[in-house]
């Protein structure tokens, strides 16, 4: 145990407190505190231990107003996510050592802590609290990208993230109101009575953060607007926390299979035509989430292992790819493919590390993607899901296209736009700063380590497995798929059939609420304002008339305020007296 903190301290709290403290320090101080916080939190996680699935280690349970809290539940599913969140936080601190702003460094650690807390949460309200902290802390990272566009994207991001939180909260309240358990366990979406609306509400909340089709655009809108450092932070936590919650709450839910398949397929087309390479990576992230969602839908032990393994390796290689593009953006000033190329000549280390990330995500043998992704396709095969199997292979070719080839090719090779002879002798962009190179080097090492020695990953998986990635058949089939796809790329380029990059804005489904939706909203606002002006104008006119009439009666010279003569007063008094007397007489 750690001597100066209570034995059952939540590792998330260590990171979140440290993240708040980091605001008061300079670059070096922030970096040192960040590293210490991640190491201490990781150490605390190790000390807490881990139980097998169904027999978790539980700490800090208590009851408040009849609600049973379980802030720490450590089984193999939650711990593998907590471990990889620590790994990502560690890489983020190093990567941003020289470049992260105060807000990014501080909120980055709070954000990582909230993801760890969410993964370890054993009850629904604790999950909800960390779910919301993740949303609130991460929006500062989007805003720290700077500029009006980042601010607006951050606002859209915040609305959608908070909406997910509210839906989750509504689902939790309804679940508890009908006598459901406070423990975060499996939900049954479709029972004997049909679809359970409460489970559907919670699934929808998870689906927003997991980027289900049509709910996905917050990711592609916001991540590319963050800074180079910020995008690396963002890439790791929110979506993978959502994947964890799906694996915990909806494993084996059939509808997730087609949802996952669609998620793997549609982003490859958007990534193809996108010019901003960080947006390409955002679509790529969406595509990778699809593999995990599909595996969770299949729901067998092998599939859940595959989802967890894929999340684990994905966090590392996706962070590595975002790091590479962040370094390019910092050194070259842009991440647009139309303005990049030839950077391998002046940024060789960044090039090499990014290629390791590209080969990992493409699932080349000896790289981490190879030992994880295949578990999902094999699980689909074992369940005899032919269409799913073929679609996953199709998506694998898509991954190779956008992340395996497009990212390194357009950033580091393709058209050499930085040659001094083309720019009046202006030197090429320099290699990335040392802290970025160290972080990329560690991430690349991890990709290779898992690729070379998969038992290091398999030992962490939720269920016992005897899966072997390195069979002659698997190597031969995967290499066939990749090499023939690369050959197709070469032919398409040779015959000028590969589309040139174009500076553009490509529409996605968020167009519906950013253009016609906004117009409809503005029209509604104008309509409400018009009605309000009419009502308010009428009220103002009426009140004006009343006040004016009162003024006429009571104002100077008004009937009720002018001085009366003594004779008129006596006559009026006599008249009133007469009326009173007659009334009294008649009664």
């Amino acid at each position: 145990m750690i001597p100066f903190i209570p034995a059952d301290t939540n590792p998330a709290m260590i990171m979140m407190v440290a993240g708040a403290l980091m605001v008061f320090f300079g670059h070096q101080g922030r970096g040192i505190i960040g590293l210490i916080a991640v190491v201490l939190s990781g150490w605390q996680l190790f000390n807490l231990g881990v139980g097998p699935m169904g027999d978790a280690q539980v700490y800090g349970t208590g009851e408040i107003l009849g609600y049973e809290f379980m802030p720490l539940r450590l089984d193999k599913l939650s711990v593998i996510f907590a471990i990889v969140f620590h790994s990502a936080a560690f890489l983020n601190v190093i990567y941003g050592w020289q470049s992260a702003t105060k807000v990014e460094a501080s909120m980055g650690i709070v954000y990582a802590g909230s993801a760890v807390g969410g993964a370890l949460a054993g009850d629904l309200l604790t999950l909800f609290i960390f779910w919301e902290i993740a949303a609130l802390s991460s929006v500062f990272i989007v805003w720290a990208g700077g500029g009006h566009a980042a601010f607006k994207a951050g606002m859209r991001y915040l609305v959608i993230q908070v909406m997910s939180g509210l839906l989750l909260f509504a689902g939790i309240v309804l679940h508890l109101a009908r006598g459901g358990s406070s423990e975060f366990g499996a939900f049954e979406l479709v029972g004997e009575a049909g679809v359970d609306p409460v489970a559907a509400l919670i699934l929808f909340a998870f689906g927003i953060k997991a980027c289900f089709p049509l709910l996905h655009t917050w990711l592609q809108d916001s991540y590319p607007k963050a800074s180079g450092v910020g995008a690396v932070m963002l890439s790791a936590f929110t979506t993978k926390l959502a994947i964890y919650t799906l694996a915990r709450g909806f494993a084996g839910t059939d509808i997730l299979i087609p949802i996952g398949v669609v998620m793997t397929a549609f982003p490859v087309f958007f990534a193809l035509i996108e010019n901003d390479l960080r947006k390409v990576l955002s679509y790529s992230l969406n595509n990778q989430l699809g593999f995990m969602v599909c595996a969770i839908g299949i729901g067998t032990e092998l599939a859940i292992n595959g989802a967890a393994a894929h999340a684990f390796v994905h966090i590392t290689y996706k962070a590595l790819l975002f790091m590479g593009m962040g370094a390019v953006m910092q050194q070259a000033g842009t991440a647009r493919a139309t303005e990049l190329g030839g950077l391998h000549k002046s940024m060789p280390w960044t090039t090499a590390f990014t290629i390791v990330g590209a080969m990992s995500i493409s699932a080349f043998p000896l790289f981490s993607g190879f030992v994880a992704k295949s578990m999902i396709t094999v699980a689909a095969g074992e369940e005899h899901l032919l269409l799913v199997y073929i679609m996953l292979l199709f998506a694998s070719a898509g991954v190779l296209e956008h992340s395996g080839i497009k990212i390194p090719y357009f950033a580091f090779f393709a058209h050499d736009r930085f040659a001094p002879s083309l720019r009046n002798g202006v030197p090429r962009p320099k290699e990335a700063p040392l802290s970025m190179l160290i972080a990329m080097g560690i991430a690349a090492f991890l990709c290779l380590l898992v690729g070379f020695y998969p038992p290091i990953l398999y030992g962490l998986l939720p269920y016992e497995t005897d899966y072997h990635a390195y069979t002659a058949e698997h190597v031969a089939t995967q290499m066939q798929l990749l090499l023939f796809a690369i050959f197709a790329f070469m032919l398409l380029v040779k015959f000028k059939l590969y589309p040139a990059e174009v500076r553009s804005q490509n529409l996605d489904v968020d167009w519906f609420w950013r253009v016609p939706g906004r117009k409809a909203l503005m029209a509604t606002v104008a309509g409400v304002a018009s009605v309000w002006h009419t009502v308010w104008g009428g009220l103002k006119g009426l009140s004006g008339s009343v006040v004016s009439s009162l003024g006429t009666l009571h104002g100077p010279g008004g009937v009720l305020s002018r001085y009366w003569t003594v004779g008129f007063t006596a006559l009026f008094t006599a008249a009133v007296l007469a009326v009173v007397l007659i009334t009294a007489f008649l009664n």
């Binding site: 193809l272 991440a335 898509g398 050499d416 031969a476 798929l481 796809a485 197709a488 490509n506």
Partner: protein, 121 residues
């Protein structure tokens, strides 16, 4: 995309990856390696060392090569037509305001923006 479209740079500015020799090696190496693994899977097939899950579909020794080639080609050839529907000019959503600095900008963000020529997005 073809070599003709490359900016005209000086010969001494070219790296080994931009030489004709390297490109020639690529044209030989990639299909040869693909053929090798197709052959390897064929041999495994005839030795009974493959475990197809969908009978003749993935039992075909070159099934994965065909899927890779066709999928990649389809994605590129079909996907590019999406531009006709989806492509708009840059700044379509935010217009000139996209380049505006944010009010109350973090000082460190402003400095970083200046260091990178204010071109971060």
């Amino acid at each position: 995309m073809s070599d003709d479209d490359h900016p005209k740079i000086l010969p001494e500015e070219r790296s080994i990856f931009e030489t004709d020799t390297w490109i020639k090696y690529m044209w030989i190496g990639v299909p040869a390696a693909g053929a090798f693994f197709a052959l390897m899977n064929t041999v495994l097939f005839f030795m009974g060392k493959t475990k197809p899950k969908f009978g003749w579909v993935d039992g075909n020794p070159v099934f994965y090569g065909i899927v890779g080639f066709v999928s990649f080609s389809f994605i590129v050839l079909a996907g590019q037509h999406l531009r006709k529907i989806l492509m708009r000019e840059e700044g379509y959503y935010d217009g000139p305001t996209a380049e505006m600095p944010r009010i109350g900008e973090d000082e460190e963000v402003r400095i970083r923006s200046l260091e990178t020529g204010g071109r971060e997005e």
